[in-house]
Subunit: 220 residues, 2 copies
Amino acid sequence: MKSYGQFCSIARALDLLGERWTILIVRELLCGGRTFGDVRRGIPRISKTMLAARLHELCDAGVVERRGAEGYELTEAGRDLMGVVSALGTWGQKWLPRESKPDELDMDALLWDMRRRVDLERLPPRPTVVRIELTDLRRGATRWLLLRPSEVSLCSTNPGFPESLEVRTDRRTLIAWWRGDLSYEEARHRGLRLDGPPALRRAFPRWFQRYLFADVAREH
Amino acid sequence: MKSYGQFCSIARALDLLGERWTILIVRELLCGGRTFGDVRRGIPRISKTMLAARLHELCDAGVVERRGAEGYELTEAGRDLMGVVSALGTWGQKWLPRESKPDELDMDALLWDMRRRVDLERLPPRPTVVRIELTDLRRGATRWLLLRPSEVSLCSTNPGFPESLEVRTDRRTLIAWWRGDLSYEEARHRGLRLDGPPALRRAFPRWFQRYLFADVAREH
DNA sequence: CTGTATCCTCAAGGATACTG
DNA sequence: CAGTATCCTTGAGGATACAG
């Protein structure tokens, strides 16, 4: 993209950050993504070519550093982009309409966010598998979360453990709960269903910290 | 531009704000621009077609409101974008290299920023014309600032009043002073020259508040 | 899995002319 | 001045194949 050609630091920051995908990549790294694959799972619609190109640009600009096999790491300048990313997220949460068409939303990005927003401290000590069924999708609508206090995995096939809990919900309701547009009780009322032992069903909502901006006060 | 298709408010905010030019347009409105022409003078390289299209998008999104002949106005949501814009400018000022090639920088945008960052309170009571000569440009390198406590105008021809003061400088030095990369004394030392009555020459640097982010502490 | 190299398409957006 | 309508070019970026 051509530079704006302005002296202004807003314009100059946008020369770097304003290209498509770039800020989302920074978001993934800020949220703990380390490898090429981590970033891709958070941004499923980016092409490999594009992601590689953008990571190079960020390295050249001194925002990201390549760490060989360990993947990528934000520099201090990169970590300081939290202010920009956070301002964008807060503004969006405050002012954008709650609803967007779930048909156009990428559920894998949502589930990837759920994976990383698990509160490990609150998980049961034994491995727990949650089967998540998106009821308004025909195929490929099932994912599994393997929850262990040491680590969480998101799988598109049953990871081999017995299923401890099943969540059935349409996309709108899951998204609305995750984004903080609905409380857990409201989501249950709107059709989110849990199947499994009562103790796990009660505990389930506590396992998740929800979306980073779920608690931002809305103005819309 | 196609939507990112993510539930995340960062991505959704970028669906709106991430298109080329959009944030710069918001910046101009935040800095007091009201009319179509105001915005264009702050972003000389945008085409009329593009500016009209972007303003429509911002209106549709509820960030800007059309005010008939008075031009455009940010809504409350729009004014709240100050957080995003300010985070970008602060980050850029802190982390981006000071120098960029002046050949690629638009001096009209700089002079337009000077026009609006005049401290009216400190101006002499009588109309004052400052002739600004950019010494490293061949033609079209002269502009005039007509300073009056009621209003400031930027002209590309002599506005008719006698010239009270002349500033001669290359672009790098003017930009560096304006951005806060050099103090006024350093800029003088680097070649910024003033011609005119000593009282006005002494007063000159006080008339300007410089760039909005000039005082941000640098990390680079 | 983590990329790179190439090709090819489509649409963003600049230029121009026209209008109230 | 403040736009709108049309045309046309260019390059962003997706798809595919290939490599370490």
